[in-house]
Amino acid sequence: MSKPQRLIFGETLVELGSSVENLIVCDADVSGSTQTKLFGTKYPERFFNFGIAEGNMVSAAAGMASTGMIPVVSTFALFLALRAGDPVRSLVAYNKLNVKIAGGYAGLSDFADGASHQTIEDMGVMQAIPNILVLCPSDITTTKKAVEEMIKYEGPVYLRLSREAITQEYDENINFEIGKGITVNDGSDVTIIGCGIPMRFARCAVEQLKTEGINARLIDMPTVKPLDSKIIANAATETGAIVTVEEHNIFGGLGSSVASLISETNPIPVVKVGVSDKYGESGKYEEILARAGISTEEIIKAVKKAISLK
């Protein structure tokens, strides 16, 4: 079973709309793309389309949250993290307002549109701002639960979403908790920690590595901030090397945060797989991911490098 992540997001908002009466959804003229139009159709009185004016939308959401509403602001990740960066920081985060920032089409998932619409900086921006949680789920179950949990959580949350279709990897009864990683595969030679879409490559890499006699532990990290320091410390102690995998610039994302944490707690090699500090381009999704530095092969290379550095 596979489904576009944005569709899961849109459908979950509709489901929540009946029980969460103070849920408001706002979009900036891309509700057909982000799938917030589903909520807008069902609950038109609680849906506001601000047009192509992201700063106004996020600032208004801050105003809404200050009066007890739970606004979800939705558009492409790039425009939330950077165009609306000031209101995100100066209103939402500074005041710990209950605004949910849903960045769609993140990473290179808007593949055909090219670098102007792709986002490799959003987690860096959001992680550098105090008070904001950063979520980046990888499968259908965790995406649905991430949406549900962020609405339950009192405070600002950044939810990173992809345009891409994702599969169901986890049972619906999985214990999903904000701030907790999920051990997908146990292993003792190295640990791969990933988030979002490239988890699919990480899963392939684990299987291929097995054939070469390398047992890799695989951890899915749907919460990038705050990091699950316990699961990472255990992985560091027990496997002695870490590889991070994400669809984000290698600066400012999951890899930077894991490396930063590890350097202070369990200094061991950390090798980062991600966008190698350059802009994306138009093309087929997996082709441009590979050209940016994200593929099963890159992960395998990184694993071998990490092990050699032990």
């Binding site: 009185e45 700063g55 105003g63 809404m64 509403m69 100066s90 209103l91 710990k96």
Partner: protein, 274 residues
Amino acid sequence: MTTKELQKTAQELRLTVLEMNHKAGSGHTGGSYSCAEITTVLYEQFMNIDSSNPKLETRDRFVLSKGHAAPTLYVTLARKGFFDKEILGTLRQTGSILQGHPCMSKCPGVDMSMGSLGLGASVGVGMALSARVKNEKWRTYVICGDGELDEGQNWEAFASIAKWNLSNLTVIIDKNNVQLDGTKEEIMPMNDLKGKLNAFGLKTMECNGHDCEELESTIKAANEDNDAVVIIAHTVKGKGVSFMEGQAAWHGKPINAEDFANAEAELTATLNNL
């Protein structure tokens, strides 16, 4: 309050702000003075608030988009009983609830932290939409500076006020014609502000922003109007102190002992004649 009492209260506020900014060694006197009467009239004649319950859900909301006029808001909130007047002397000091720009998590009565310019009208839009969704009667008031209208986001906000015809929101533009580096005309001319607002689909009303009677009747008319209204309040930056009036230099200049004495004398003399 009577008009006379309002004028006196605003003038007393100027004296307190002078002391606060003098003691703090920094702070924005010019912009605090231009909105002294607007803020006073709003809080004394219109705002439905309860200082013993600052978070009262049904209260009216106030957004000081020109957050650098914080001293004016602080004096007003202290007068309304949100905190002890003695705290006013701690403006901008380490650990004070009175930050250089208003902070809602520190200072009771502040409905939204402000300081980064150009965001307040948008916040007002969100508050007004919330009231509509909740079917609540409370109103939202926003004071914008004319300097901050340089920021394009204000115009996004104005477009959305018109789109949703937010008649439960009153935006008052403190039009003092001066910004930090110089006059509006020199730095970024606004030209026909009223015409621009009208072209955005908004009804406008104008008044003398230092005349409490005019302010009160204009705000009342705006509140009673079925359409969204933006009030252009014509003001003078640094109003009340002749050497500060209309001077960009007094946007945020520390007040030395000599200037303090002269300003205090002039403000007191005016107060005594009211």
